[in-house]
């Protein structure tokens, strides 16, 4: 019996707190695409005005590429944003685990 040892994928965590008007959104999209192309898993957490990025078509298209997007439901509720398919409406508890379990964590604030 042979066992194939698979190398664990590196995980990149990203915090985005600015709205889509900021250049941070473009940077996060391009950085995420680069990370995916080098076989990394990417988990993005949105909070503060960053939750508005779920209205940005280019940003949301990252879901189709396998990115996990979670946002702070409290901030989304304050901004009257409704639930979207594919986006996790979570809490700061999720961010705590993203930070803890990522090999690299970047913040765009």
């Amino acid at each position: 019996m042979s066992y194939e040892l698979k190398e664990k994928k590196q995980r990149l965590g990203i915090l985005l707190t600015t709205s889509p008007e900021s250049e941070n959104t473009f940077t996060v999209i391009k950085l995420t695409e680069a990370a995916l192309s080098s076989e990394r898993d990417v988990h993005i957490f949105l909070m503060c005005d960053g939750v508005y990025n779920i209205n940005d078509r280019n940003f949301v298209s990252l879901l189709d590429k396998g990115v996990i997007i979670t946002l702070c439901a409290h901030n989304a509720s304050e901004r009257l944003l409704e639930k979207r398919e594919g986006i996790n409406f979570g809490s700061q508890y999720d961010l705590a685990y993203i930070v803890n379990e990522s090999d690299k964590f970047l913040s765009f604030t």
């Binding site: 915090l15 707190t17 909070m47 508890y93 705590a96 930070v99 803890n100």
Partner: protein, 114 residues
């Protein structure tokens, strides 16, 4: 355990971001993270005995007190305190010089600036 440092830089009275950063800092303690919060530049105004709720600004003091209760390190930069002329500090915090703050940041696994 991961060492996570949250650096606050902005004045607390013209933005909700400081309050949100402190709420986030508390949230970060929910996983196996050693959370440290550092106040630099205008953010040291957050440490004054002010009553932000009287101008309908979020009351962030309870977050700082809860960070104390959870034994998280709360640090203010000495140079910023002196530059802004902060006399009375309301909270139980460590005061470190710039070199000490840089060492704390260098010693972190993750840094989140706000």
């Amino acid at each position: 355990m991961k060492k996570v440092t949250v650096v606050l830089q902005k004045s607390p009275f013209n933005t909700l971001r400081n309050s949100e950063a402190l709420r986030m800092s508390l949230g970060l303690t929910l996983a196996n993270n050693a959370v440290r919060v550092v106040f630099v530049r205008d953010a040291v105004y957050s440490l004054l005995p002010a009553k932000p709720d009287e101008i309908k600004s979020p009351a962030f003091g309870r977050h700082i007190e809860m960070l104390n209760t959870l034994k998280c390190r709360v640090v203010a930069e000495k140079e910023s305190i002196e530059e802004k002329g902060i006399g009375e500090i309301k909270y139980n915090i460590e005061v470190k010089d710039r070199k000490g703050v840089i060492e704390l940041i260098k010693d972190s696994d993750s840094v989140i600036t706000y």
